[in-house]
Symmetry: none
Subunit: 202 residues, 4 copies
Amino acid sequence: MPKVSEEYKQQRKKHILKSAEACFAEKGFRETTVDDIVEHSKTSKGTIYIYFKSKEDIYFELIEEKFDESLENYFSSVRKFNTAEEKLRYIIKFQKNLEFTEEEQKFIILQIETNMYLLRKGDSEQVMIERLGRISTFLEEILNEGISNGEFKKEINATVFSKMFWSIQDGLLVRTASKELANHHKPIWDLVEEMMFDYLKA
Amino acid sequence: MPKVSEEYKQQRKKHILKSAEACFAEKGFRETTVDDIVEHSKTSKGTIYIYFKSKEDIYFELIEEKFDESLENYFSSVRKFNTAEEKLRYIIKFQKNLEFTEEEQKFIILQIETNMYLLRKGDSEQVMIERLGRISTFLEEILNEGISNGEFKKEINATVFSKMFWSIQDGLLVRTASKELANHHKPIWDLVEEMMFDYLKA
Amino acid sequence: MPKVSEEYKQQRKKHILKSAEACFAEKGFRETTVDDIVEHSKTSKGTIYIYFKSKEDIYFELIEEKFDESLENYFSSVRKFNTAEEKLRYIIKFQKNLEFTEEEQKFIILQIETNMYLLRKGDSEQVMIERLGRISTFLEEILNEGISNGEFKKEINATVFSKMFWSIQDGLLVRTASKELANHHKPIWDLVEEMMFDYLKA
Amino acid sequence: MPKVSEEYKQQRKKHILKSAEACFAEKGFRETTVDDIVEHSKTSKGTIYIYFKSKEDIYFELIEEKFDESLENYFSSVRKFNTAEEKLRYIIKFQKNLEFTEEEQKFIILQIETNMYLLRKGDSEQVMIERLGRISTFLEEILNEGISNGEFKKEINATVFSKMFWSIQDGLLVRTASKELANHHKPIWDLVEEMMFDYLKA
DNA sequence: CATGAATGAGTCTTCATTCAT
DNA sequence: TATGAATGAAGACTCATTCAT
């Protein structure tokens, strides 16, 4: 006989998570204090510790949520296209069209930092590899689809190509987080696109 | 121990830096305490503050030293080759042959974290962009050399290609830091190499 | 203990201030550690930093409070008298009758030290001069009152006399802080009284 | 068979003391570091600890020296005058004519702080009281001289008057250290002079 | 005697977490 | 459930003093 509905509690948690995201993006995990989150979320320290068992816990839930949410959206919008080429071109187009606002850049930084954090902790095996695997598999399927139906040449190693692709994407993301490349990444993606399709269809 | 040679002092500093590197690589900047460095270096807190004015100072000197040192070695070994193609192939080969020990992987993580840290602080403009610029220019020169002497096709935009190349390298490095890709990056570099030369010489 | 009344918090702050006073009086500002205050107040370091933002902050609030509080009481008790002579004699009598306990002597020392501290910092202009001004003006008014109604002679420069008076008071206070003069100051005040009134009414 | 002459050593000590004086006056005892004194004296930490056994020791020797030196000079210049009145007027004139440079004001602050420091330590009985006694006695003698030869009236209590005089002097000094009264003390001394001689000769 | 590098106890301050209300 | 006051362990940094050269 809970006093408040489950839905209410979910909503409350989401609200805190949103605040935490803003804070972490702004200052990073270590530099963000629980008080920062309290202030941003207009709740209280006690409340936060009702919904999360530690600051680290907030961080993990945030990453989990953020990642899964955006990834599923992404996958499904890609799947709407018919041919493998269209799908791949859409993926590239999506990256190309990302307009990185200050805020988004900060979130990218946060994501990269998080990866490094996880890598260091060695927990990565469980979490990260599974994720990278999912993304990799997603592209592999598209590539294999293209190979089967003759869009792409037979010699392609879909696994390797997929890993390469996401590595490139990662690299461009890292650079994009910096001001140097920020919003100048389009010509690079153009080049990548040209080069890749030359290879895939040669 | 007074009236000690400049050389001795340099050595002492280097020793502390070495210890700091190990600690930072192990736990990251924020999680490493000065006491960790004290313990690892078998010196004392006071001594560390003779040679460095803050924990952050150690960090920056470390990054600086590590980076500049390795970069210059790298550049000069590349320049030994005659043709542009040889040079580029050597660069790729170099990346391909990197055998990342546990320790080196940790240092890569540290470097990436550092970049993120700098990006967040906004101090990055001075330091990082200059560095990325140096690396980018280095490859641009090689590419232009190849274009002039007919090794590579005329249509290549050396600036864009160079940026792309290093982004890919970055991306692979990030992934390599993870256990997933660790020491499985050779086939990916093979693919990159094939694809790139196809494009450059088409 | 959450959601606590403003009054409760004021009380808590006062309690810490009381402890700090005892510690500062005992050992001086610099020699007093925050841990001393913690121990004396039976609270915790954290609590102290909830109510004050630094050790210096405690010090200033203490001085401020102590000073303003006692000064206003003093002024109002003096104003109760009718004639200027009565007022001035009361002021002197008040000084004369001060029985300096060990503790009060220590607080006098603290006050003098504080003045020196402020003087050195140069922040004194704002705070101290304003205070000295208030005290000086207070006596000037009494003197002018006495001059107007014929109690005192016309030739008196109220401003100079006032400053002299408080300097004497200061000097006697400094000496009183020492054991030498402690509680032997009455005959000196008698002499001062005699001499002053001889002059004022000559 | 000392390696260096006693005179050399005395000179060295004096030099360090001079530097310490400047530093203590500038920043106070606690805020002055041994390194400050090292830098100012252009010697070394080791050297300082040859001549003094602690930072506090420097402080005490400084106070001792400074005080005794100036006091003896002062006494002897006063004694040159013939009558008690001349002597007392000279003392007042001396105070009146003090032109307090920034530096001298700082040294006054240091002296006052030192007194407070000594008072707190309870060592005051030995050192300070003896000093205050010497000064007090000095003036008592002058006053008694004046009483004996009819310059001053018989009813004067030389001991009390003397203590009062130095208290006034102390008070004016404290105030003079502040910017408020700085170099505006002459009219006050004029008033004190007038009032005192009115009393002494009445 | 002179030097200054080394030391480490001692400071202030922060902040994640708890728990009484 | 919600609150926010209380806690204290932990961290960065300082500096008087020592002592090998």
